[in-house]
Amino acid sequence: MNPELLGRTFPPAPPYLVGREKVREFSRAVFATNPINLDVDAARAAGHADLVAPPTFAIVVQEITLAQLLAEEDSGIDFTRVVHGDQRFTTTRAIVAGDELTAQLAVTSVKTLGGHSMVTAESTITDAAGEHVVTAISTLVVRGDE
């Protein structure tokens, strides 16, 4: 992996519009059963503008920025050897249907540990008003030669 990736920031990804049916589809896929994820009336009764997305939904938006990273010609990352090491979401507010979200990636750590390389990619996700919604942090492990 190219150590010069460290500290690199990327241009913001194109805005992602959170659709109500996408929230329902994602909710069902992660076995969410809470009505606030699925039923607009229940979400509104709980004080939300629309359906609330599950806590891991931000991965869908982060994915766009991870694709930017893997597409970097000088990254030296072999996609077929990439394993997801860890994941974190630090939330200011929940994502709701109707949000227009913009994600921007920064590489905050590049390490080599016994033949494996690790890259930490931090995607800061903001809403249409520019306010912080969630930061999604992924560590990708690139397995070395066996």
Partner: protein, 138 residues
């Protein structure tokens, strides 16, 4: 909604068992946009040296927090969620895979009104997520 003052470190607040099938993986692939074929094709999984088709780590992470969401009463109360992916979940084409989740109070921050809920997520009698922590504002 649970009250922070009613909780004690070590309390089990939620438990759930989820059976994943190959259909679950295809559904998650479509919903998330992660179409890596190791999550639905045995031949591709075998070609990269895997013992079989694996669940997406993000699917395991996504389902493991759901019992906590239901206990807290609102998905918006989850303010922080982190996991480490330590072992894969192999999904048998016929029998699927049973993932068990136990959610326990790990720490209480009364000032911030946040409970840290620690998840034990296991498959085949071994834990598959490490340092799985959910911070919930109550």
């Amino acid at each position: 909604m649970p009250q922070l003052t009613d909780l004690t470190v070590g309390d089990i607040v939620a438990e759930r068992s989820v059976t994943l099938t190959r259909d679950s993986l295809v559904r998650y692939a479509g919903a998330s946009g992660d179409f890596n074929p190791i999550h639905y094709r045995d031949d591709v999984a075998a070609s990269v040296g895997l013992p079989g088709v694996l669940a997406h780590g993000m699917l395991t992470m996504g389902l493991a927090v759901q019992p906590v969401v239901d206990w807290a009463g609102d998905p918006a109360r989850v303010v922080d969620y982190q996991v480490r992916f330590t072992r894969p979940v192999l999904v048998d084409p016929q029998h699927g895979a049973v993932v068990n989740v136990v959610a326990k109070v790990g720490a209480l921050d009364v000032e911030a009104s946040v409970a840290r809920i620690d998840l034990t997520v296991s498959f085949d009698d071994a834990t598959v997520l490490g340092k799985a922590q959910v911070r919930v504002r109550l």
